[in-house]
Amino acid sequence: MNKENMNPADEKLSAWLRASRVSPALPPRFQDNVWRRIEDAEAPVPSTSRLVWLDALAALVLRPRFALATVTVLIVAGALLGVRDGSQIARRDAQARYVAVVAPDSLR
């Protein structure tokens, strides 16, 4: 509406309405929250490719066949290594026992 065409009574009414409008109080920590949201928006978003890769790997790991195969491999590998190390320890102990009997400490 053109100002020149306004009725002086309308102008008065508008001024009165403006004066009577109550501005609501800002919520607590309003400014902090605004800055936080700005920072969040500016923070680098993890690349989509990495997320896709992680999701694919997690999905693979959760597949029962894959999980079963992995557990089997781990158990077999652990068992083989354990038996090998255990036999080496037993061999060293047996050797030490024999040497201790035939070669007194005073000579070694």
């Binding site: 993890p46 997320l51 992680l54 999701d55 790997l57 997690a58 790991v61 959760l62 992995t70 557990v71 781990l74 158990i75 077999v76 590998a77 652990g78 068992a79 083989l80 290594l81 354990g82 038996v83 090998r84 190390d85 255990g86 036999s87 320890i89 037993a90 061999r91 102990d93 047996a94 050797q95 026992r97 024999y98 040497v99 009997v101 035939v102 070669a103 007194p104 005073s106 000579l107 070694r108």
Partner: protein, 164 residues
Amino acid sequence: MNRSLVILLGTLALAMVVFGSSYAVSRHVGESCLTQPGNDLAWLRQEFHLNDAEMARIQKLHSDYLPQCAAMCQKIAAKKMEVETALNGATNVTPVAGQKLAELAALRAQCQAQMLRHFTEVSQAMPPEQGRRYLAEMQRITLGLHEQTEQSMSISAGDMHGHH
């Protein structure tokens, strides 16, 4: 945290627990199955793949050797006591202490020669190739330690001479 990442980290932890448990149990079982407590000659049979006849010969040699070894050990222990008595309270190596030290060294050399003779006899009771391996291994174990000590001492003595 990302859900996928949590799943992967959890899976990794679980995998480590599974592998570690399997390894620990197998090592314990392997060790206890192969250990024969009370059998001093078990190592010879395992290491040199000896049959019953060879083991019987070696067992005889071993049984004959042990009393000789024990007697020599007693003599050495008694001589050590004499050396300690001779050195006790002395601020110098007296002629008596020197004499006792020489006797101790002679006894040790005698015992060492007896031990090496026993190793030779045992090696001859084995198949030739295994016997050579046994003799080399026993000489390395019983004499090698002396060589290492002497070498390290000669190196450190050389360094000291270089510094002074």
